[in-house]
């Protein structure tokens, strides 16, 4: 029998949401300050309204203090799922009033894309957008990539919050407590922020010849989008705007760092570095990267799209890194990407679907699940070849030696299958609207795996249902389904439960 959530359950959820909205209201003071410094009074007014809305809802939630504040698993998951729905909706207020969006849905689409670090965009006339609004688009990448709920965990005192941490699709606790893990994640991001912005800024000034102020503006935006594997860019031509191999290389390093799990970052910072190459996930991602890279290069070479080895290598390498890390930067226009048929299309789509590492800012199925699935299949095959009754035990290395249990293998395969279903959903809707199979599949995988590369399907004039489908894909894909199912179950129990 389904148990209907009682008033106390609702109070717990409302109270937790109230805390998170308060944190987001405080974080939103940053773009507001940017608007003040730049004397951008039109965006300033809309940032004020957004902060007011977050603060008001935050305080409203805090009024419903439950008698027992302890969050259980289902509460935590519901809170995470609702946070990731509500923040893009309220966070889209500055976009709605900017005049750069055709409808509020388009503005929410971009806010959802920003927060889930996807990078698909419906913005119009980006090249004339206010810098503070552009900054907010990229800051959403940072908040979403690092985890808004994790930010709340860092700021609020007290331990616990484990369920919220896992709800945001973080698979492993690096340090003994969730709070110290959350702090470590933010420390990694801040160190990369300082170094990344400095390096990109100096390159932009010294090599690209931009003014100092503009150099650091570009550096900050690109850092947010690269390290958080987002994919928004300050100019409409994405990374193609810079026309610089060295700038692309520096961005590639940040994309790779963003696609690495925070556990691996920890190993690189403090732990034994040998663990890096023993890791199942590292080995898996190196294998899948090589495979998709070769596939794409052979495809591009066979199609004769690039006439020189340098062109083929630079463009192919950048695009595949961008796809595999789930970033979505591009140095070629979407119309050109749409022409990458055959093996190049297959290579790019597979790379996007596989994604980065678990507990990273990247999306997609994730290397760990691929590695575990392959090991489980190999295990099954071995079992078939051995005499009846023989027991095959498989181990893998991931932050220490672990045993591959049937439950773990099943869980990895289930999530992988759910991703495939998610990709098929978006592709099916696009096919229904008359888009070609290749473009429908590419764009759907891009949305579901939080990548952001586009072959031109995502544009302001696309059908409303397709926009909503892609938004659902971004949301469900980023949260890796668990929190989404928990929310659906919560609502169902509320309606049908006793």
């Amino acid at each position: 029998m389904l148990i209907k959530p009682d008033r106390e359950d609702l109070r717990i959820v409302a109270y937790a949401l109230g805390r998170i909205f308060t944190v987001v209201a405080v974080a939103s003071l940053v773009p507001l300050s940017w608007a003040v410094l730049g004397r951008e009074w039109h965006p300033f007014a809309s940032f004020l309204l957004m902060i007011g809305a977050f603060a008001f809802l935050g305080q409203l939630g805090l009024r419903y203090r439950p008698s027992d504040e302890r969050l259980d698993w289902s509460h935590g998951m519901v809170v995470v799922a609702l946070t990731w729905l509500a923040v893009p909706m309220i966070g889209s207020i500055p976009f709605i009033f900017s005049g750069h969006y055709g409808s509020p849905i388009d503005a929410i689409f971009d806010a959802m894309s920003g927060l889930t670090t996807t990078g698909l965009a419906l913005v119009q006339d980006l090249d004339h957008m206010a810098p503070s609004l552009n900054f907010w688009r990229h800051l959403l990448h940072f908040l979403g990539g690092q985890g808004i709920v994790i930010a709340a965990l860092v700021l609020f005192a007290g331990g616990g919050g484990l369920t919220l941490y896992y709800g945001e699709a973080r698979d492993e606790r690096i340090l003994p407590s969730v709070r110290s893990t959350a702090r470590f994640i933010w420390a990694v991001a801040l160190v990369h922020l300082v170094v990344g912005v400095l390096v990109l800024g100096v390159i932009a000034h010294q090599v690209l010849g931009f003014e100092w102020k503009r150099s650091f503006f570009h550096a900050l935006m690109i850092f947010f989008a690269a390290f958080d594997t987002g994919g928004f860019a300050p100019q409409s031509t994405s990374l193609g705007y810079y026309h610089s191999a060295i700038f692309e290389f520096a961005t590639t390093v940040l994309m790779v760092a963003g696609a690495m799990s925070f556990g691996l970052h920890y190993a690189l910072w403090r732990g034994p570095r040998r663990a890096l190459f023993k890791n199942l996930e590292t080995r898996t991602i190196l294998t899948t990267f090589t495979f998709t890279m070769v596939l794409t290069m052979v495809g591009l070479g066979a199609a004769g799209i690039y006439t020189s080895v340098q062109g083929l290598t630079r463009q192919g390498f950048f695009q595949i890194i961008s796809a595999h890390s789930g970033t979505g930067f591009s140095t070629v226009p979407s119309s050109e990407l749409a022409m990458w048929g055959g093996l190049a299309f297959a290579g790019m789509t597979i790379a996007m679907a596989l994604g980065g590492m678990a507990s990273s800012t990247a999306g997609g199925i994730k290397a760990l699940r691929i590695g575990l699935t392959v090991k489980a299949v190999a295990n099954q095959t071995k079992q078939l070849l051995l005499p009846e009754g023989a027991v095959v035990s498989t181990q893998y290395f991931q932050s220490g030696r672990k045993r591959l249990t049937p439950q773990l293998a099943q869980s990895a395969m289930t999530v992988a299958l759910l991703y495939v279903a998610l990709f098929l959903l978006g592709a099916g809707v696009a096919l229904g609207y008359g888009y070609g199979l290749q473009e429908a599949l590419f764009e759907s995988v891009s949305a579901g795996a939080s990548v952001g590369l586009s072959v031109g399907v995502t544009e302001p004039s696309m059908p409303m249902l397709l926009k909503l489908t892609y938004m659902f894909q971004m949301w469900a894909g980023r949260l890796e389904f668990v929190a989404v199912f928990a929310l659906l179950g919560f609502i169902y129990a509320w309606v049908r439960g006793k």
């Binding site: 805390r19 951008e40 009074w41 300033f44 007014a45 809309s46 940032f47 004020l48 309204l49 957004m50 007011g52 603060a55 008001f56 305080q59 409203l60 805090l62 009024r63 009033f97 005049g99 750069h100 969006y101 055709g102 965009a121 913005v123 119009q124 006339d125 980006l126 090249d127 004339h128 957008m129 206010a130 810098p131 709340a152 965990l153 609020f156 005192a157 007290g158 616990g160 919050g161 090599v207 690209l208 010849g209 931009f210 003014e211 503009r214 100019q235 409409s236 031509t237 193609g240 705007y241 026309h243 690039y306 062109g311 290598t313 630079r314 463009q315 119309s335 050109e336 544009e459 302001p460």
Partner: protein
């Protein structure tokens, strides 16, 4: 009084014809620099089928946006947008017509030195006609595509645009913030510990 005819006499007609002929020839000679000797190609066509124009001298008209990047190799890089926003800025009430349509351009630094401010927020950049060779997947630049400019005509020099605050939005924001502050004063006794 001897009234003169308003029409030129035979010699006058020949003189005017000669002047027109010389002017036409001069414009013809300066054609590439003014975008007269090459086809005016929309940016959308370059993006759709760039290979068709590879190594061909073309002219592109649009607004310069983003940054002027003067590099050590003697070239300046920027972006030219050929979309409705180049002429009808959104801030000025221009229509929304989708994403920007732009390409990268490279020109000798001396061509770009005296250019008006580049387009951006509250800034309509210079509307220019750029003539040069379209380089599609240039092997010398790692497969980049761009317009290698050798002639430029500034059609309009661009202008600053105004965008004031939306007072209704501002007032709503203030109202919500004040309400939140009042609620916070009542709520602040609450613990913020997350157990």
């Amino acid at each position: 009084m001897n009234r003169r005819s308003p029409l030129p006499n035979r010699h006058g007609v020949i003189r005017i014809a000669m002047v027109l002929l010389v002017m036409t020839s001069l414009l013809g000679l300066a054609g590439p620099a003014f975008g007269q000797g090459s086809a005016l190609v929309p940016v959308s066509e370059l993006l759709e089928d760039g290979a068709r124009f590879d190594h061909i001298t073309i002219t592109v008209e649009g607004e310069l946006v983003g940054d002027y990047g003067f590099r050590d190799d003697g070239f300046m890089w920027t972006q030219i947008n050929d979309d409705s926003y180049a002429r009808d800025a959104l801030v000025d009430g221009g229509p929304r017509t989708g994403a920007n349509t732009g390409i990268g351009v490279r020109m000798p630094s001396e061509l770009g030195v005296d250019l008006p401010p580049v387009g951006g927020y509250r800034l309509e950049g210079p509307l220019v006609q750029l003539t040069g060779v379209w380089r599609y997947h240039d092997p010398d630049r790692g497969g980049e595509s761009y317009l290698d400019v050798d002639g430029m005509l500034v059609v309009e020099s661009g202008r600053r645009l105004e965008e004031g605050p939306d007072w209704v939005v501002f007032a709503l924001g203030v109202l919500l913030l004040v309400t939140s502050l009042v609620m916070w004063r009542r709520n602040r006794h609450l613990s913020l510990d997350w157990r």
